[in-house]
Point group: C2
Chain length 501, copies 2
C-alpha cells in the first residue's frame, strides 16, 4: 500500500507541476507579456490544462484511489495520508466527469477573453467582448451539465469554489445578511459621508508600493517566498508553497487603491504560504475554498487593515512617507476616510458594509444568465438598473459597469462571486474566535505586531490547507458553523462608534 501511495503522490506531483507551470504562464500574461504573445499563450495554457486534466483523471489514478480505500479507512481522519486520499478522491470524482477537450477549450477561451477584456475595459467596449462572454456562458453551462441532477444549474459551479454550498443555500444566507445589513446601512447613510479627500492627492507610485510592502512584511508575508508586481486586476497566484506572489494596480491619485489591494492579496498569500510544506505538490496544498480564502484577504485588508489600532502604529510612518500630503491630516480624519461608507460603483473599491450588495447582484446575474432568464446582450442594461435600484448609483459607462470585474472574462459564469461575501462573514468570524483565544491581539496590532494573530490563523486555518473542508475549518477554528453574527457585531461596533449610532 505504501508503494501505491508513493505512486499516487508521484502522479499528483506531475499534475501539480503542469498546473503550477500554467499558473506561471497566467501570471506572466497578466504582468509582463507583450501584446504579441497573447495568441500563443492561450494555446499554451490550454495545452497545460488539458494535459494536467488527462493525467489527473487517468484510469491509473482512478485505480490507485480504488486500491487505497482500505488504507485510507485504516487511518485516522486527521492523518495527512488519509486526508490526501480523501481530498484527491473528491477532486478525481469531480474532474473525471469533465472531458479533457472541454478543459483545453475553456483554458484557451479564457486566455483570449482575458486578453480581450484588458483592451475592452479601458475602451468602454462591451460589444467587443460580448461574443467572448456568450461563449463563456455556453462553456459554463456545458460544464455544469457534466454534473446532472442539480437543483439549480449554478450548483456544480458554486460547489467547485465553495464545496458544500448551492445556489439555494447561498441565496438564503444572502437574504439573511441583507436583512441584517439594511438597518446598519440606513443608520450610517443618514449621516453625511466621511471626507476622503486626503486620500485623493498625488501619491507617487514607488512610495505607495514601498509603504504597502512594509505593512505586509509586518503582517508576515514572506518576500523570500513571494513578490509583488503590477497588473490590470490584482490577484494572488502560487507556483509552489515557496513562491506565492501578489499583484496590485496603482492609482497615483488614490492612495487606497494599491494600499488595500496589497493588504488584501497578502491575506490570500499568507494563507498559501502558511500551508504545511509537507503537502507540497498535492491537492492538499491549496486553500480549502473560495470563501475561506477570501476570509483571509478580507480579515487582513479590513478587520485588521482598516482598524484604528493598526493605524495608531502605521499612520505616523505613512505621514513620514508622504509628509506633503498628510502632515496636516489628523489620524482620525485618515481613519474615517479609509472607512468611508458610501454606495458606489466599483466592487473592489467598496467599503466593507456595502460591498456585499455588489456581490449579491453579481450572484443573481450569474444565476439568471445560467438558467436563461438573462441574455448576455441585456447584461449591461440590467447591470445599470440593478446598481440604480440596489445602490442608488449608475455608472456613466460599461467600463465601470459590467466590465469592471475580470472574473467572467477569465473564468466561468457561476461560482465566481459568492466567495467574497462568504469571506466577509468568515473573516469576522475567524477574527472573533482569535480574539477570544488571544485577547492580547488588538494591543499587539496597535504596536505593529501581528505574530500572535498570524500564528493563530496559521495553526487553525492555514496549516491544514485543503485537508479539511471549509465547514470543518470553521468548526475547528470557531467551535461552530458559519454564522453572520460576528460579522454583524463587528460592523455594529465599528460603525456604531464611528457614527455614534
Amino acid at each position: 500500500m505504501e508503494a501505491k501511495l508513493t505512486e499516487l503522490k508521484a502522479r499528483l506531483q506531475e499534475v501539480n507541476d503542469l498546473d503550477m507551470a500554467g499558473a506561471v504562464l497566467g501570471w506572466d500574461q497578466a504582468t509582463y507579456m507583450p501584446p504579441g504573445g497573447a495568441e500563443a499563450r492561450g494555446r499554451q495554457m490550454a495545452t497545460l490544462g488539458r494535459l494536467s486534466h488527462e493525467k489527473f483523471t487517468s484510469d491509473e489514478v482512478g485505480q490507485l484511489l480504488e486500491d487505497l480505500k482500505g488504507y485510507e479507512a485504516g487511518r485516522p481522519y486527521d492523518a495527512n495520508d488519509a486526508g490526501l486520499i480523501r481530498v484527491t478522491r473528491r477532486e478525481y470524482e469531480r474532474r473525471v466527469k469533465v472531458p479533457a477537450a472541454w478543459v483545453g477549450r475553456f483554458a484557451e477561451h479564457s486566455a483570449a477573453s482575458y486578453q480581450a477584456w484588458t483592451v475592452a475595459r479601458p475602451a468602454n467596449d462591451f460589444a467587443a467582448v460580448r461574443p467572448n462572454l456568450e461563449k463563456t456562458l455556453d462553456l459554463s453551462r456545458e460544464l455544469a451539465n457534466y454534473f446532472p441532477g442539480y437543483q439549480h444549474i449554478a450548483d456544480p459551479l458554486i460547489d467547485f469554489s465553495d464545496y458544500g454550498m448551492k445556489a439555494e443555500s447561498v441565496r438564503a444566507l444572502f437574504a439573511e445578511l441583507r436583512a441584517a445589513l439594511r438597518p446598519i446601512m440606513q443608520a450610517i447613510t443618514a449621516h453625511p459621508p466621511a471626507d476622503d479627500s486626503c486620500l485623493m492627492q498625488v501619491y507617487p507610485e514607488a512610495a505607495q508600493l514601498a509603504f504597502g510592502a512594509e505593512i505586509i512584511k509586518a503582517y508576515g508575508y514572506d518576500f523570500n517566498r513571494g513578490r509583488q508586481d503590477k497588473t490590470h486586476h490584482p490577484f494572488m497566484t502560487k507556483f509552489s508553497l515557496g513562491d506565492v506572489r501578489i499583484t496590485t494596480r496603482v492609482k497615483e491619485h488614490d492612495l487606497a487603491e494599491a494600499l488595500f489591494s496589497t493588504l488584501h492579496e497578502a491575506g490570500h498569500a499568507m494563507y498559501e504560504q502558511g500551508i504545511d510544506r509537507a503537502y507540497e505538490g498535492t491537492p492538499l496544498a491549496n486553500g480549502t475554498s473560495a470563501g475561506v480564502h477570501e476570509s483571509q484577504s478580507r480579515l487582513w485588508e479590513n478587520v485588521v487593515g482598516r482598524s484604528r489600532a493598526l493605524w495608531q502604529h502605521f499612520y505616523p510612518k505613512l505621514q513620514a512617507a508622504f509628509p506633503q500630503q498628510l502632515s496636516g491630516v489628523p489620524l482620525e480624519t485618515f481613519y474615517r476616510a479609509i472607512n468611508k461608507v458610501q454606495k458606489s460603483l466599483i466592487r473592489t473599491d467598496a467599503d466593507e458594509v456595502t460591498y456585499n450588495l455588489h456581490v449579491m447582484l453579481r450572484l443573481d446575474f450569474e444565476l439568471d444568465m445560467l438558467d436563461g432568464k438573462l441574455a448576455v446582450r441585456d447584461l449591461p442594461e440590467a447591470w445599470h438598473e440593478r446598481y440604480d435600484s440596489d445602490l442608488g448609483v449608475t455608472a456613466p459607462n460599461d467600463s465601470d459597469g459590467v466590465l469592471q470585474d475580470v472574473h467572467w472574462f477569465a473564468g466561468t459564469i457561476g461560482g465566481a462571486f459568492q466567495g467574497y461575501t462568504l469571506g466577509n462573514i468568515l473573516g469576522a468570524q475567524f477574527y472573533a474566535a482569535a480574539l477570544k483565544a488571544r485577547p492580547e491581539i488588538p494591543d499587539e496590532v496597535a504596536q505593529g505586531q501581528f505574530g500572535t494573530l498570524h500564528g493563530w490563523l496559521t495553526e487553525k486555518v492555514y496549516q491544514p490547507g485543503s485537508k479539511y473542508t471549509a465547514a470543518e475549518v470553521v468548526e475547528r477554528a470557531t467551535g461552530g458553523p458559519l454564522a453572520i453574527g460576528p460579522y454583524i457585531s463587528y460592523l455594529r461596533n465599528k460603525y456604531g462608534e464611528l457614527y455614534e449610532l
Copy 2:
C-alpha cells in the same frame, strides 16, 4: 497524407507548447523568481522537459514520419512541408536515442546548478558548485554516449548546437583562425590601449536601458513582440514567434556592459522575430544553429553596433542623454573606447579581436574534461594558467575565472562555446555579402536607418528558420561555404584604420 501531416503538426504543436512553457519558467527563474521558488521550479522544468521529450519521441511521431516519407520525397526540397518533415525527422532521430529519464534528470539538475551558480559567483565559491559541475560532466558524457561511434566524445554535443560540426573540424578551424589573428593582435597590442575612461563614469540605470532600447528599436527589434528585463547573465528567450524577449545586466559604472549586451541579445531576438510566422509551433520556428544565431548577435553588437557609421548618428543622442558624462568627449574618443582591444579576463566584455581566445580555451577545456584529461577539481587552476599563457592576465579569484560564464551551470559541458567564434566569423561573412548586394547599407547606418540591412538578413537568414541547415544558409546567403576571410578582412580594415597599421 494531408491528414497525417496535420496530425504530425498537432503533435509538434503540443510539444512546442510544453517547450515554450518551460522557457517561460526559465525566464522567470532568471528574472523575477524569489529564492523560495527555486526548489519546485527545477522539478517543474524537469517535468515539462520530460513530457515534451516523451511526446516528441513517441512511437506515433515515429510512425507518422515513416508514413510521410513518400510525401516528403514528392515535394521540392525548398517546400515548407518537405522542410518540416525533414527537420523533424532529423530531430526525432537524434532525440529518440535519449531516454526521457535523462532529459528530466538533466533539466532538474540544470535548474539547481543555475540557482547555485547565481549564489556562488558573487561569493567566489567554486567549491559550492564543484559537485554540480561534476554531475554536469557525468550527465554530458552520458548524453554523448547515447550516440556511439563518435570520433571525439564531444562530437554529438557539438552537433546538437552546430549541426555538421565535430571536435576535429572546429579545432582545425580555430587553429586557422588563431594563426590569422595573431599578427593582427600583435600589431594592435604594440600600441598603447585606447583610453576607455569615458565609459567608466556613473551612468544611471534607467537612462542606460532607455538608450539601449532606442537603438534596438531603430535596428528593428519589435517591442510589441518582446520586452527586456534584467538578469544575472544576459540571454534571449522565445515563448512564441510573437514573444521573443531579451535580458541584460546593468553596471552603473560601465556604460558598455548593458549597452552592448542589449545590442547583442537584440541580434538574437531579431533572428527569431524574423522567422516565417507560418512555422509557428514547429521545429522550423527556431534559429538553425548556435553559430548562425551568434552571427546575428555579433553582427548587430559589433559589426554594426561598434561601427563609426552608427555612432555618427547615435553619439549626439548619447551625449544628449548623458550630457554631464559625455559632452566633453569627442566622438573619436568614444569610438576608440568602445573598440579598445586589450587582453582581458571576461569573455562577455572582451573586444571583438581577442574574444576568440576566450572561446578557444573554453573549447579545449570542454574537450579535455569530456575525455578525462582534465578533472573538474583542477579546472580553476587550469583556467588561471591558460588565461595567463593565452591572454597574459590572471583573475584574482574564480568569480572572474571559471565562474564567469553561466553555460556549464545551465547546460551541458560540450557544445556550449564554439558557436561564439563561429558567430564572429559568420557575422562578418553575412555582413560582407549584404554589403555586396546592397552597397547603400553603410550610408543608411550612418543615418540611423537599418531597414535595408535588416530586410536583407530577414530574407536570407531569418525567414527560413531551421528549414535550411547552417551550411545551406551560409551558401544561400553568401554564395560559398563558411570562411574566415571576410572576418579577417573586416578586422584588418577596421583596426588598420584605427591604429594606422
